[in-house]
Symmetry: D2
Subunit: 376 residues, 4 copies
């Protein structure tokens, strides 16, 4: 075992108070090496039922303790103690605030206009690291101001901004999620396409610079916009070295230690590519990878309600016209209308499907790669 000089500082931050008036605390594991390098922020379970990321963080901690690290890693498992603890029947109602329906992953901060204004303050000869540090300062102050506004903030937004304060310091941000019943996939900003081959994840969604409130977007949009603005102003390329991803590590409501170890290895390989770890020990798996542009990542809704068998498995390649699902019609069991078949409208890869057999009309049955391509 290498003589590691890693230090682990564990502390808790309060992200909310419950109706008993008690603080809801989130654990933070801050790993610092004595060798400089990038700063990484990884959180899991912002959606309360998506728990597998906690196992991934556990395995990351075990692995990082045992080898030389360059830089810093902040690990925030179980970052949403409200969402984790709302049960509705046996399952966890973890995707949105049960009071008002607010998605827990839509309240992060991004102010495009403020970035444009900041770009005006950059001087021709200003050093990239100085720009980075000034920009971080400005963005974090904006978040602080929002957190302190006198009329208060909604629960989800307050939680999001408190976490974003930690995340915004990092060069690399990973938000660990799970799908309902899902194969592994990752959201990658288009400017960081190269990263697709640095993880061991077979399905990659490339996303444009559009902010819809999620953590990854809130972390990369400011830097991406700043880069574009400065390139416009000064006519040369800028690279701030900031990347942020939403990583979907299988299905929700499931803990699997062995699978989590593989997911941790995928992340370690990426960190090795970034120079933080010995890259001989950590290589991305050799595997077939498929990519899709966000606009071609499509949701198939059912037009009618009923009881559904999901015939196509996440990750399978399905041809146009093949059966995706069968719906049982309980009022027609004795005749030929007993079963409706839902067929693939085009060639596609189903990435995830709804986790319950009982669906109302308008339910998101499948999310699918269409017009996908192999990443080589």
């Amino acid at each position: 075992m290498p003589s590691s000089s890693l230090s682990i500082n564990k502390y808790h931050i309060a992200v909310a108070q419950n109706a008993s008036g008690r603080n809801l605390n989130v654990p933070v594991y801050h790993l610092t090496s004595n060798t400089s390098g990038p700063k990484v922020y990884i959180q899991s379970s912002i959606h309360g039922a998506e728990v597998q990321g906690n196992v991934v963080i556990y395995h990351l901690l075990q692995a990082l303790k045992q080898q030389p690290l360059k830089g810093e890693v902040i690990l925030v498992p179980n970052c949403n103690p409200v969402g984790t603890n709302i049960k509705a029947g046996e399952y966890t109602l973890g995707r949105f605030d049960p009071v008002n329906g607010t998605n827990w992953n839509r309240g992060y901060h991004y102010d495009e206009q403020a970035v444009v204004s900041f770009a005006q303050t950059v001087e021709e000869r200003e050093d990239v690291s100085d720009i980075k540090s000034r920009f971080r300062q400005v963005c974090k102050e904006a978040i602080t101001k929002k957190l302190e506004q006198s009329w208060g903030l909604g629960l989800a937004q307050g939680l999001n901004l408190t976490l974003q304060q930690l995340a915004f310091d990092a060069d690399i941000v990973l938000d660990l999620h799970n799908g309902p019943v899902s194969t592994r996939h990752i959201y990658i900003p288009e400017y960081a396409k190269h990263a697709a081959k640095q993880f061991s994840i077979p399905h990659c969604i490339f996303i444009p610079k559009v902010f819809a409130g999620a953590l990854d977007e809130a972390c990369f949009c400011p830097w991406w916009t700043l880069q574009i603005e400065l390139e416009k102003r000064f006519g040369r390329a800028f690279d701030f070295g900031v990347e942020a991803f939403t990583v979907e590590m299988g299905s929700q409501e499931v803990i699997e230690f062995d699978e989590g170890k593989k997911d941790a290895q995928s992340i370690l390989a990426y960190l090795a590519c970034k120079g933080m770890l010995d890259d001989k020990q950590h290589q991305p798996q050799s595997m077939q990878r498929f990519g899709v542009m966000l606009k071609d990542y499509k949701t198939l809704f059912t037009d009618f309600g009923g009881m559904v068998e999901y015939c196509a498995q996440p990750g399978e390649h399905i041809s146009k016209g093949e059966i995706l699902a069968k719906v049982l019609n309980i009022d027609e069991l004795e005749n030929e209308r007993a079963i409706d078949e839902i067929k693939a409208p085009c060639d596609l890869i189903p990435i995830l499907h709804f986790p319950s057999a009982s669906v109302l009309s308008g339910t998101q049955l499948y999310k699918c790669f269409t017009q996908y391509f192999e990443i080589s």
Copy 2:
């Protein structure tokens, strides 16, 4: 009783299917007189717990049967049979789709760019009624196209668009809502400010031309935008006579027949102002009315969790520094920290408050008029 030539046509439309595969039907009462006049569309209970509008529609029907009407009225009570029937404990979980948190009042259609394009097709001398009828056609076709898209639609959006198909024919649209614990108030588009005095409602919120997905916005934004575009093009004023409002008729989870009768009278007075009824019989009440611009209609969130007494009642005028709420701290009952007081940050009128004494931090305690003014 006048010799009324009113005809009432009742039918049902299917807006969704449940998990048993059964259609969920919504009743439509279509009242037609043999005298021409405006077309009115009134729906209630798009938020399932906001049931009082159904009583208002009942009283409207009783009243309209008994007097001469000019024009048409479409009444759609209980327009969201999914939201009405989701119970969580004794209350109705009616504000959002329980599967994914989607607010039932955010999926209506509006395409600003399409309106701008349409404006280009209008000819200088085209008659207003021709423009109206062409524009309706175009907008309704866009909704139909959206409803028929091959990958399907989410439940809330499908429901919304199906209702919007009915509403978009009307010149006057009223969407009947309730607040949690609430005084009566109405949302009025700024261009229709005069309507504030045509209802018998003491609190009016004036809203700009911004689309956030609600029915009223989806009904007035297209006409408002068209009017602006045509004024820009032709340098003269256009008035299409279309108005749409969200009317908040007291508190959710409550049915009160007597109160509903008064609310119906308020609407009848407005219809009389529009020339549809004998305006001698139907006058808006003489009352003090207060208005606020939407940007000054503010939400007060609590910074901490606990058990709350709502000291300020909806409709009361509260001065800066007065106590709005007291929060009991169950861990400090024996000492001076037992009760926290939440004070008004400025002069305000609380319009509604949260309906439960138990709150997490980040709960929307009150919505308040600030910088309000008397409407005279």
Copy 3:
């Protein structure tokens, strides 16, 4: 202010762990005087939405600090931190475990056969206080054994037994509840009928020695049974001086400090009757009181679903045939079937009604005193 020698010892007990692995703690306020007297146990909010008892405990604490007390008082507010913190929409899903539907007030321990066996161990000349202390010991050991069983216990039952360990030491047990929309009422074991006039509560339900799992029953059934068994054996009366009540202090989801003060005064008057406080300062209110035997405390279910106005108010005296509720039928608004009336099947006092206007068939609309009598 009297020179009080009261000491207040505040501590917390862990009653469960949440899905984050954190202890859920309940505050215990233990008040001890240096003058001997009965031991009192008062808890509130075992049903999470029934929060007003917490205010009552607050006022009890304020009052008890200011006057001489004989004996001990244990106050346990907010005794169910799970139930308090499950939100479903804006309301608190506090009546049952959201995972499995278990009512939070049905898992206390009572073993009739064990009491009968214990009675056999009592000797003719054994002192009542010795019997009490031996019996307490035996009962508490049974609870401890149940709590420690190797296969574990359900959440509600574990919570109940942990609280019962504290309560079973007391001579007087008050379990503070609220109804949905409710007038104040109290459950009194038939053997303690005299207590009806010692509280300031207008509606009293007298209950037989039947155990259905609630705290009051779990506290009085053992002593009541023991008393009967010993009377059978020794042919003379026994009185252990133990009383237990469920007190329903108005409506759920509401905090009202002023009302809570009155409820505290009602309890103080009862404690004064028991000799714990100066009875000149604390007199039960002079008021009309009505009683009912449990078998005549009846639930009125609706046969059909719809939107309901609750016409009869809790506490009103209603004659047979009077209207209790009106139900709006949204599919028949234009005709004479628009409103159904639900009438009182006999003379009755509605004590509480359902808190939502939207009901399915089979909903408990009202709970009513029938065959009631004045307590004089």
Copy 4:
């Protein structure tokens, strides 16, 4: 294909009304042959998330249409339209009434005292078929009376009694359920132990004559009690040929057509054993079967909350001390307390486990056969 004289009569019964005032209908498929034989009643999905039984009924219908049948079969799929349609997040909240927590399978009728009284009316020489028909009449009248009581009935109980009216006519009653994550198993009344080998189900739980409100108990307890009473009175054996079972066909929230076909074959084999079908075509599978007495079918609750991996799979044979589950402790990820192991307290077969990785303390992790035996 045989010239079958089977007739299928499909109709619907209303079992409740929703908050929109609409009837909730359940489909009934009544199959009658022209050859006499037993009467069978099969229902599915009384617990709304347990949907696989609907597929089994579909396959039963397909099979029964194609071969000669002796007797009658009543099939009632999706028998609880309320439970089927309550969504809480993506899953179905189908186990209990969301309003009050009442388990949908606990409100059936059984009145032991009435059976004892009926037994007194039987005459020494009365024919068994006469006793059966008189007894059915008496029991059904009691159910009818309960359904018609003037103060109404709770929703779950009304639903249960309406179904029981249909079921009580049958000689054979199958209530099709699913476990959370579960292997196939069946509840068999001890007097019908022989049936264990007539189904193709590897795990059998033998239950005593105790009524806890479920359909199977409500169907067999009356006959079992009657038989015992008559044997006591007349000193000879009585056999009414009535059997009732709860059959657990795998996991909830899942539809699998192929698995459902196998489950249908298991039921057909049982019906063939009863003489209703050609028994050469339908043989129970040759398989290892394990039995357990109800008292040894034990629930393992977790003492602490956390994130759980279920290491033991339903149906596996586990030795005392082997690991059943691992619990991740998110506050101790960096040290040796990161994972707690839960071990088997004795040799056991886990039959089902909780379907979510996130558990509070007191959660039912596993239900297990202990002291089980092979059925030969």
